[in-house]
Assembly symmetry: C2
Homo-oligomer: 154 residues x 2
DNA sequence: ACAATAAAAGACCAATTGATATTTTATAGT
DNA sequence: ACTATAAAATATCAATTGGTCTTTTATTGT
């Protein structure tokens, strides 16, 4: 559903939301390493996002990417708008024409509420909210340096 | 989420389920025209599906693609297994590693039940069930020859 | 036997997405 | 001013997906 590019972008933004500030910037190289994403690829994505104002950046020594408190007030949809080149919420899941609440395809009643819930979350929760949630849930943006316990692999 | 190929394949199979029989076969050309899908593309997909036993076919004059009652007992997942080259139900929606019920990403609780419901429907309902549902709902597999009323376009 | 029909097979081409490498520009520190 | 650093810009390349075309094989009807 989401392209690799979008997933990478989201992870990178959430990483910055959690770790960066005006006084603590991250270069593409660090981010690529930390999240185990191909360097040149994430560099390009970060540039796009910076240009669009989703994140911030400064050139030169001590420069890098970071997020301001304002940046963190953006939502996930603002990331997708930049990276994804079509609206993932549009179109019938099965590709039927004129699929709608009135003319539902066989999975319409499963897909429509899902899209709705997802869109709402991507629209109404800020990036800051997401970052906090991840921290609270004990989720990982990367497995870099995470010790995997034997029992977890079974 | 689904590739074009899968969507085309599903529509074509449902069309055959609704219209074909051993005594009423359809050539790729008719199907392509009826569903407004590129001929060569759908031809290839139909061949794959026939090879896999999802649909039936015979060569030569009076030949074509069709579905037997047994074919119609297959489910949608059997189509996806042939056409889609990766399991669409696997992997974290946001691309986070080790996302699970215990380590949920911020949209896990939205995505997991959706995937579940979808998988169940694709697994437990037959193609015949789907075809019937579409007929009953008044949905369209194609807009070929469907008159669109003015009010519908507003 | 042979002509016509239609699927099967496979080679091929185009567009999109994923990924890389190179050059240019801005800035900080000396 | 000069050097080092790091983003910005851009050109390029590879892989996947989407789509087309040509040849071969099977079958039917005469």
């Amino acid at each position: 559903m989401l392209s690799n590019a979008s997933k990478y972008a989201i992870r990178a933004v959430l990483f910055l939301a959690e770790n960066s500030s005006y006084h603590k910037k991250y270069g593409s190289k660090q981010i690529a390493e930390e999240l185990e994403i191909p360097l040149s690829f994430i560099a390009k994505l970060l540039q796009q996002l910076a240009k669009a104002g989703v994140i911030s950046s400064t050139k030169g020594p001590k420069g890098g990417f970071f997020m301001t408190p304002q940046n963190m007030q953006n939502n996930i949809n603002s990331i997708l708008k930049e990276i994804e080149n079509e609206n993932i919420f549009e179109g019938c899941f099965l590709g039927l024409p004129r699929c709608s609440d009135e003319n539902p395809c066989p999975v319409h009643h499963i897909v429509a509420p899902f899209k709705d819930a997802l869109w709402n979350k991507f629209q109404n929760q800020t990036i800051l909210d997401f970052a906090r949630e991840i921290k609270q849930n004990g989720s990982f943006l990367s497995l870099k340096g995470v010790e995997i316990k034997r029992k977890d692999l079974l």
